[in-house]
Symmetry: C2
């Protein structure tokens, strides 16, 4: 058993001083007691918070960070960015993917993310053929998670067609295409790779409405009895127009009417929704998976956040393309998009409520739900995903209670994180992942070769 | 003489390998040679860039970072934030201001800002009376700049009235009010405090249209024959409405028609402009002083950046309220606001142009102009304000040429900065200001006392 003691810690009931947390050998919390002095043998920390789920990741895209900030031939958009991404992934070997994913997960952990939803679509060999192990690439993701210690919810992607109306996949999509039948092999292969990973979870991810037919979407979700289902939806206005032209329905509307969207579902982006869609998604029990930094970088647009939270919707955040991996920045940019649109401040809260705490608690609950990981709160029975902050950090000087969260989210960044435990295993100490150096060295070698 | 050598460095002509930079004892660059090997005795670095001006700062507000992220009584806005700011500044002594400013300037330098435009309005004692030295507070700013080494352009603020139409200043504005006559004493006092500061510059800052009369604005600018003139303009829509009701003109329109706005001027924010105002400001030779992080935090709105740069306008950036001090984030948020509004990417550039380089070079030129500091380019005769980046930083792995800038601006932060020289004096080494520890300790003691 591990015992931690915090001078102050955010419990589901609020900030509490003198908290002792006992962690059982299975990585779950066995007891939480406030108002205590540090027990003998306990590791002592100043400030404790629950670790946050990063609910949307395409790990290999971390290698592209900074490579796509060059203007394209005409009006530059998501769709020109996608061409850069296709060219980049053409070159990647399984070893490359493992090296990039490990670096990414180190960065996530150092930022305070304790679990990741890996929306994994790079399945096949460069020629489009299956690897001997159909889940070779999924296995590399699992290995990166095991080596770094991040909590993993693996979401193998079903990519059944190249575009709406049964359009065949293009040459540049050959590494992620499968049929509904062959997708089953992928999912079972991925399940085997998760066997050695404590508290890992398996879900599925139909890529988007444009990448499935109504029949294949029904087949893959129908064959998957439990576990989370993630799908990209309504990220780009062109996607909304295409879906309207194809079905007479907008993407979120179509999914709610035809796909059985409910509490197992996470709709990634959900940027472009009417008021009716916003209320319907909030009422469905699904999670909106927001990626504010990527959505800003790709020029997607601004999520209708105030209306959605006002209707009781669940949300979480993910770093998606990983152009930047920072928990605090992800949450503040979610808030800043709303502020800029509404020309207002502290847009989500009621009088006296801290914006940082409201954002963090919403993302903790929504992220845990979307990844089906019993986390996001420090309480008995939960997985022990815990973050400690540095009370001497420049953004936290003299901070108490919710001011700690506001300082971290609005004035801070990953350098405020001093220690991180995932399922009770300490993976970040003094702000650095315990294996940062060899993992970064391998990543550097990999990137030098790819970009040479 | 100091000699630096860089494996690669951004010159006005572009990225150049093997650059030797000679710095004279007066802190200016005496020679720059590309294609060289490191001379004996030279300090060797990997990546060099010009240091950037932070053109808009209210230093004491750094102490408020994270304190105002709590929802107010009704629709929360800039105007409720201002109430928090007024309460905070009520308590500050000259010693407090020096301690906070020194911490702020350390953070700026560590982020790669090498000079600051201090828009300084906290002049008087808590009871509203003058200090024995009318420029006591200005002297504290100068001391903080001297101790930390940041380049200073000091802009004492003229705050002549409480609101449009000759409204008297309110009780909570008592620490910054002066008449046009007494303002002259402040300016002369500030000039004396700058005597010991190498390359420091004195300007003036009429606070905003609402804080001056046409007559007093004419008097203070007329009495100040050279040096920069900065003014807040069109940050908030309410301010635009008030100015229209008062004069029949919008703020930027009014300033261009009545105040002689030209190359000495810097209009801070300039957020809300018509197309005609945008073109007129661009053509005036003035600099638009943008503060993207603060403008997002305060819910101001989005600057018409593409139209303004398209019309040939000059711009620079400042961290204003200092809710967060990071050069890379300031520039990327400038770009992201445009992308979110236009639902497009790489909005400023022509085909093949790096967004990071375009943003950085625009801000280097505009910032140097707004502060009247011969900097922003590494060339003979310029002040030696230089930043070195860490080639092993996670955002810069395997980067060359403009990819270095894109990596820093879009994927990086202050942790990518490894060394900084201001006027040839090395003030940041291995990512840390040389006096970070004592300055932070004093700041922490100050904040604990203020917030107790």
């Amino acid at each position: 058993m591990t015992t931690l003691h915090f001078d102050t810690l955010l419990l589901p009931t609020g900030w509490t001083d003198g908290v002792t947390v006992d962690i059982a050998s299975d990585g779950t919390i066995s007891a939480v007691r406030g108002g205590t002095t540090p027990p003998a043998g306990a590791e002592r920390q100043a400030i404790g918070l629950p670790g946050l789920a990063n609910l949307h990741s395409h790990a290999f895209q971390r290698g592209m960070a900074g490579l796509a900030e060059v203007a394209g031939p005409s009006k530059d958009s998501f769709w020109t960015w996608r061409q850069v991404m296709y060219r980049f992934l053409d070159r990647l070997t399984p070893e490359d993917v493992e090296a990039i994913a490990a670096e990414l997960y180190v960065e996530m952990l150092e930022a305070g993310f304790t679990s990741v939803g890996e929306f994994h679509y790079l399945h096949h060999a460069p020629d489009g053929g299956w690897y001997d192990d159909p889940a070779e690439m999924a296995g590399r993701i699992a290995t990166a998670a095991l080596k770094t210690g991040i909590g993993l919810t693996l979401l193998p992607v079903f990519y059944g067609q190249g575009g709406l109306g049964g359009k065949p996949t293009e040459h540049q999509q050959r590494r992620f295409a499968s049929s509904a039948d062959s997708f089953g092999r992928l999912v079972e292969g991925a399940r085997r790779h998760l066997a050695g990973l404590p508290h890992a979870r398996l879900g599925i991810a139909p890529h988007s409405i444009r990448a499935v037919t109504p029949e294949s979407l029904g087949a893959v979700t129908g064959a998957f009895a439990d576990g989370p289902i993630h799908i990209h939806a309504a990220e780009q206005t062109k996607e909304v127009e295409d879906c309207l032209a194809w079905s007479g329905r907008r993407p979120v509307e179509w999914l709610i009417e035809h796909a059985g969207v409910g509490p197992r579902w996470c709709l990634i982006h959900a940027t472009h929704m009417t008021e009716a869609e916003t209320v319907a998604l909030a009422g469905s029990g699904a999670v909106a998976g927001l990626c504010p930094i990527t959505e800003a970088n790709l020029g997607d647009g601004i999520f209708p956040g105030t209306a959605y939270l006002g209707a009781g919707g669940a949300l979480g955040v993910g770093s998606d393309s990983h152009v930047r991996v920072d928990l605090a920045e992800e949450l503040r940019l979610l808030e800043y998009g709303q502020r800029l649109r509404d020309r207002s401040r502290n847009v989500f809260g009621r009088e006296g409520q801290s914006s940082g705490r409201l954002l963090l608690e919403a993302a903790l609950a929504g992220g845990a739900k979307a990844l089906q990981r019993p986390s996001g709160a420090i309480e008995t029975g939960a997985v022990a995903d815990i973050v400690a902050l540095d009370p001497e950090h420049r953004a936290l000087v003299a901070a108490r209670g919710d001011r700690i969260i506001d300082g971290w989210i609005f004035a801070g960044d990953q350098t405020a994180v001093s220690a991180v435990w995932v399922a009770g295993r300490k993976v970040v100490a003094e702000g650095r992942h315990v294996d940062r150096e060899p993992i970064r060295a391998r990543f550097s070698r990999t990137m030098r070769r790819i970009l040479a």
